[in-house]
Structures are given as structure tokens and as C-alpha cells.
């Protein structure tokens, strides 16, 4: 996918003024924030589960190579073929090769964010393979030629009317507005695609090392069709998704749907192990699993390693007041919200996404809801330190910081300069006591007044009080 994170600020302005988007985003609070809050108490000790989940993920990351090899061994023993892809281009090449080998003309896809990193659909289409997205949200986006704006609810930026218009236009059927009718229409269009596809492409929420299984959680059932009906199934996922045992998965599964959509469990949890055997009634004849690095291994062993714990639930973005106000597209690459503000600069280069680590008040809402306890605010701050170290800050910011830092270390100078500043500000505030404009701080005063100070600092007044 093209990276447009460099245009973040311009995008923010556009999104803040998009009334339709704002209306769509207003649903996040009740649907996701409220949804999560309503179900986390079902677990006796949610916090302890978070701690356990983080420990499971850390245990894997500590010896990721060993767990991946164990997974490969088990998956291979059960008849799957495991491929290793260092980059997105490698993923596209491997899938194209598998498609060519098996004479694939049509691929049905269930939701996968990793393939968004690679631009897989475009690559396959260039090879003459028709790709049909079958997750309802992703299907809508494929029709609209748009990218997902959320990792779990990809179409959260659209409303029912947009979708009704889109279906009427693309399906050439009478326009429907009832959600159930729209779903039925999509289902009727998609059903033949499942049946005629030669290849199914899915992601994987977890890879189970002890059994060599790929596990996916879905709500619509399309995932199960995609992974069992076509002759060939290709599961594509990040190398960090491996988990030691099925029992570990159960811990993570208690947290994933609750954190993501406020569900106690998703409608489907599919454990996909090996290709169709002689005694099996269904399943693909060929099962390929592609393990994708695409920048992930660069996080191993460093300060950002905890980011690889991520199980892609989306809770951080659901609870982020920045995401809630601008949606996902403004972030300019595959992953939005706090986790995206860390992954995007890490995967595509800090110089290509300079605003993302700074576009947070560090309010901490993401960190406290993360089911695997990723210290997201700390990671954002670490990226800011990297920006500083690499000289990627603007000259204005560098000068302001240097000057402020020098003064803060010299109390006498600091006292004098604050004394002067508060007097000037008091004067500028006039009788009303409000500043409507402040040179160099238009970011503040364009939309807000600044309450004027009283004209003397606390330390001045305190010293005077002690003397009197």
C-alpha cells in the first residue's frame, strides 16, 4: 500500500471537516468503547488475564526463531507447506507462484491486514487472477476502491446510505436501505464466488506451534468458506503471531474479542490444521502458510519489541481520542490509531511518517485497554526520542526546546523571563483577561482563547508573602 503518512496534518483538517465521517465515527464510543466495558467483567480477573496474555506473547518473542521453527515442523508434518517471506514483494511472488502452479484463476479472500501491507490484490490481478474480498466490510471497500480505515471494522468510516448507493451502483439492483437486506444482497453476490474460487486466501490470528495450526476468528463465516471450499488455501500472517500451545490460545481468545468488538467470543473460531486428508470430508487439497517478516524482525531485541505482542484487536484505536476524531485514513498507511502510529514509522521509516509519533496527547487510554499490555505511550515517546536523535525535528522546535531547556536549568534566568512574560501576557489579555491571539502559538489561539495570567508569578508572590 502507498504510504501517505507524510500528509497527516493536511489529512486531519480534511477529516475534521468531513461531516459524514464525523457522524460515522460517533458510533465508536457506544459500539466499541461501551461494548468492551460491558463484557470485561465477565472474566473474574481481567487484569490478571492481561498480565498472563502479555507473558505468553513475551515468552514467544524471547525465542521467536525457535517457536517459528517448531511451528514449521509441526505444520509440515501435518501436510501444510510453510513459506518464509522477508518482504511484501516476497509474499506477492510466493502467492503468484502458488496460483500459477495450481492454475488458479479466481481467489476468494477473507480479511487480512498483512496482505494490505503487500498490496497483494493488485499484484494478483496483474497476474490475471481475479480476487474477491468476502469479508463484508472488505467487500464494500473493494467495490469502492478504498482502503480499510480500521483493522477490525474496516468500513467504520462509511454509513448505511453510502453503502446502499454503492451497492445499487455496482450491483445494478434496486437500492435497498435495510441493513439485513443489504447483507442478503452481498451474500447472494458472494456465494458463487466461494463456490467458483480456485484459491482461498486468509490471514491468521494465531499460529499454534504445538499443532502447526493456523487459527482465525471471524464473525461472518466467510473465513470458514474461504479456507475449506477452494482447492488451495493460502494463510498469510506475520511471524509474530505464533503462540506455543492451544491452551495459550484460550487465554488470548478470552481477551481478543472482548477487547475488539465487545463480544465474549466471535461467531467462528476456526483451527486449520494441514491439508485435506484421505478420511476428511472437506478442506483444501493444498494448504500453504506464508510467514511474513516485512520489518517485524527489526523490532526484536530492541526497545520496541513489546509492539510485537500486538494481537490486532483495535482497542487502542477505539479508545484513542485522536482516532475517534479523525478515523483511520488520515494515518496514511495500513495500520491506524496508536498501534499504527508505532508500526507505520517503524515499517516505512520515521522520515516518512514524522507526525505520527507526535499526534498523541499521551493520554494513556490506549495503554490501559491493550489486552497484551503494550506500553503504547512509552513506545510513542521512544519514537520521539529517535526523531530527536536523528535530527528529524523542525528547526523551530529544536530552537524552542534548547532555549527552554537552558532556562529551566538556570533558575534566576527562568524567574526573570517568566516574570516578564506574565506581565506582557497580562497586559495583552486586557480587562477581559483573555488573549485571542498569540504570535507563534496560532495552533492554540486559532480555536481557543488563552486565559491571561495575573501578572505576577507564584514565586514572586510567595517571596513577598514571606517577607511581609
Amino acid at each position: 500500500m502507498q504510504v501517505s503518512a507524510i500528509h497527516f496534518k493536511r489529512s486531519v483538517t480534511e477529516k475534521l471537516n468531513d461531516a459524514k465521517l464525523q457522524n460515522a465515527l460517533s458510533r465508536l464510543q457506544t459500539r466499541f468503547v461501551g461494548g468492551r466495558a460491558a463484557v470485561i467483567d465477565e472474566i473474574a480477573d481481567f487484569e490478571a488475564s492481561r498480565t498472563a496474555a502479555a507473558a505468553i506473547r513475551d515468552c514467544v518473542l524471547k525465542n521467536l526463531d525457535q517457536w517459528l521453527l517448531r511451528f514449521e515442523q509441526q505444520a509440515t508434518a501435518r501436510g501444510a507447506t510453510v513459506h518464509w517471506a522477508e518482504s511484501g514483494a516476497d509474499v506477492n511472488r510466493i502467492v503468484a507462484e502458488i496460483a500459477a502452479r495450481h492454475g488458479v484463476r479466481k481467489a476468494a479472500k477473507s480479511k487480512s491486514m498483512v496482505t494490505e501491507e503487500c498490496g497483494l490484490n493488485e499484484a494478483l490481478e496483474a497476474q490475471g487472477v481475479e480476487v474477491v474480498e468476502t469479508d463484508l466490510g472488505e467487500y464494500i471497500l473493494q467495490l469502492a476502491h478504498e482502503a480499510p480505515s480500521h483493522i477490525v471494522a474496516p468500513v467504520v468510516h462509511k454509513n448505511k446510505e453510502d453503502i446502499a448507493d454503492l451497492f445499487a451502483d455496482k450491483h445494478h439492483l434496486p437500492r435497498k436501505t435495510d441493513i439485513a437486506e443489504l447483507c442478503r444482497e452481498a451474500r447472494e453476490i458472494l456465494r458463487p464466488a466461494f463456490l467458483s474460487a480456485d484459491m482461498g486466501i486468509s490471514g491468521a490470528n494465531f499460529l499454534v506451534a504445538e499443532t502447526g495450526s493456523a487459527l482465525i476468528v471471524t464473525n461472518e463465516g466467510n473465513g470458514r468458506l474461504v479456507t475449506t471450499l477452494p482447492r488451495v488455501h493460502v494463510a498469510i500472517t506475520g511471524i509474530e503471531k505464533v503462540v506455543p500451545t492451544l491452551e495459550d490460545v484460550t487465554t488470548l481468545l478470552r481477551l481478543l474479542p472482548r477487547s475488539a468488538t465487545g463480544q465474549s467470543i466471535t461467531n467462528y473460531v476456526s483451527v486449520l490444521t494441514g491439508a485435506k486428508g484421505a478420511d476428511d470430508h472437506d478442506g483444501p487439497e493444498h494448504f500453504h502458510i506464508i510467514l511474513v517478516d516485512n520489518g517485524r524482525s527489526s523490532l526484536l531485541g530492541g526497545e520496541m519489541q513489546s509492539m510485537l505482542r500486538c494481537i490486532r484487536c483495535g482497542a487502542c484505536m477505539n479508545h484513542c481520542p485522536v482516532y475517534q476524531n479523525i478515523g483511520g485514513h488520515a494515518y496514511g498507511w495500513v495500520y491506524p490509531g496508536p498501534m499504527g502510529s508505532i508500526l507505520t514509522p517503524t515499517f516505512v521509516g520515521l522520515e516518512n511518517a514524522p507526525d505520527l509519533p507526535n499526534a498523541s496527547t499521551l493520554c494513556g487510554a490506549c495503554g490501559v485497554v491493550c489486552p497484551v499490555k503494550i506500553p503504547l505511550p512509552d513506545l510513542l515517546r521512544q519514537l520521539r526520542e529517535k526523531q530527536m536523535a536523528r535530527g528529524l525535528k523542525s528547526w523551530q522546535e529544536k530552537i524552542a526546546l534548547k532555549l527552554w531547556s537552558w532556562m529551566a536549568r538556570h533558575p534566576a534566568v527562568y524567574a526573570l523571563s517568566t516574570k516578564i512574560t506574565v506581565r506582557v501576557l497580562k497586559y495583552a489579555g486586557g480587562r477581559e483577561g483573555l488573549l485571542h491571539r498569540l504570535p507563534g502559538a496560532s495552533g492554540w489561539t486559532d480555536g481557543r482563547d488563552l486565559p491571561a495570567p495575573v501578572g505576577k508569578t507564584f514565586r514572586e508572590l510567595y517571596r513577598q508573602g514571606k517577607r511581609s
Binding site: D355, A359, R381, A408, S442, D446, G447, R448, D449, T457
Partner: protein, 244 residues
Amino acid sequence: MRVGFFVTCLVDAMRPSIGFAAIRLLEAAGCEVVVPEDQTCCGQPAYNSGDRGTAKTLALKVLGEFETCDYVVAPSGSCAGMIRMHYPDLWRDDPAILDRITLLSQRTYELTDFLVNVAGLETIPGHFHGTLTYHDSCSGLRELGVQNQPRALLAKMPGVALKEMVEATTCCGFGGAFAVKFGELSTRMADNKCSHIEAAGTDAIVAGDLGCLLNIEGRLRRRGNHTIQVLHIAEVLAGNVEDT
């Protein structure tokens, strides 16, 4: 007990009355209050801007100024959170300083947290008659667990009726430099907060951090709301505020 009062740079410059209110409360709780005169800033602006070096230097400066106090108290969850939660991280590689910094950080409290959980303030010196809504400032809430403390103190004031707004725990959009760097976004977040405040329909909006208060008041006034009072919790509790 001897309490070192950390004024905070914002209170020092923008609203000294909060500092005097806080001192009055600490004294009412039986503390001996000292105010180190050379204090400037806790270093959070540098820390959050990626300037770890400056943050480390300022942490040492604070350590030198407050090390002899039994406790450090700040009228801000943000600054107290910086000292308590982040100072040890800054000096994690220097064991000798880390030990001292850790001792200091463990003795550092946000004002209402200190009044309730350490000093056990029973009688509130101030009087306020009217309705209030309380905004939970992010660092105090999520780093220090400050949520019930200010409400418990307000509950001891007979004239105060607390009326909760929706999304009281959602960030107001201040975020230090964020408010200027991403002004439009920050303003929208403040605007959402102001709508919730106005919907609560109280006489005053109260919070424990001046940064949030400047942001909220700035947006309320620009929206044309000149009636609702915007107050620091210390001002309400100490009674420096005229009764409504």
C-alpha cells in the same frame, strides 16, 4: 511531616492562586510546607518531546531540591506522574542515582491523592455552594489512579453538588506541545469536552491539572460561554473562590 511543595511551571506563571490554595490545604492537613525557591519545571515537556537528556538533568535538579523532604506534593497529576512514574526510567542505567530517584518518586504525590491517602484531611477549609462537574485529567487518572480522591474530598463539602458529565475520563486535548502542534485536532477534542461540560449544566467545571483547565477555559470562552467557572480542585477545596 515536612512536605516539599512542587508548584509546577504552569501554576507558577499562569495561576499562582492554585499554589496558595494547595499550601493552605496541606497546612490544614497538619503538614509543614516548604517551597524550594529554585524549582522550575519537572522536565516533562522535554521528556515528551524526545529530549531525554534535558529531562534527566531536570530530574536531578528536582532530586537535589526535594530530597530532604518527607514527601513531594504537586497540584498536578501530570507533574506528579512524571516524577513518580518516569524519573526512575530516566535514570535506570545509573544505579547510584536510581536508588535516590526511586526513593523520591515513591514519596511524590498528586495533591488530592496525598490529602486523602497520606495526610487524611478530614475537615475541608473551603466553602463552595453550587454544582460542579469533574474532569479526570489523564496522567493523574491513568498513571496515578486519581479518581475517587478528589470526589471524596468534594463529598465532604456540604454546599457542593457533584454532577458527572459523560466521558469525564476522555482527554481534553491539551497534551502540552500537542495543543500547539496539532492545534485543530486539539481544539476539536477540547470542543467535545466543552459540549459534555455544558450538557452537565453545572456552575463550574473542576479538574486537578492547570493544563487541562487552560485548554477547557480557552475553548469555552471562544465558544462564547463566559458563565461557567473553570476551577482547580485546590481552589474549590481551599475556598479561595467566591461563593456562587
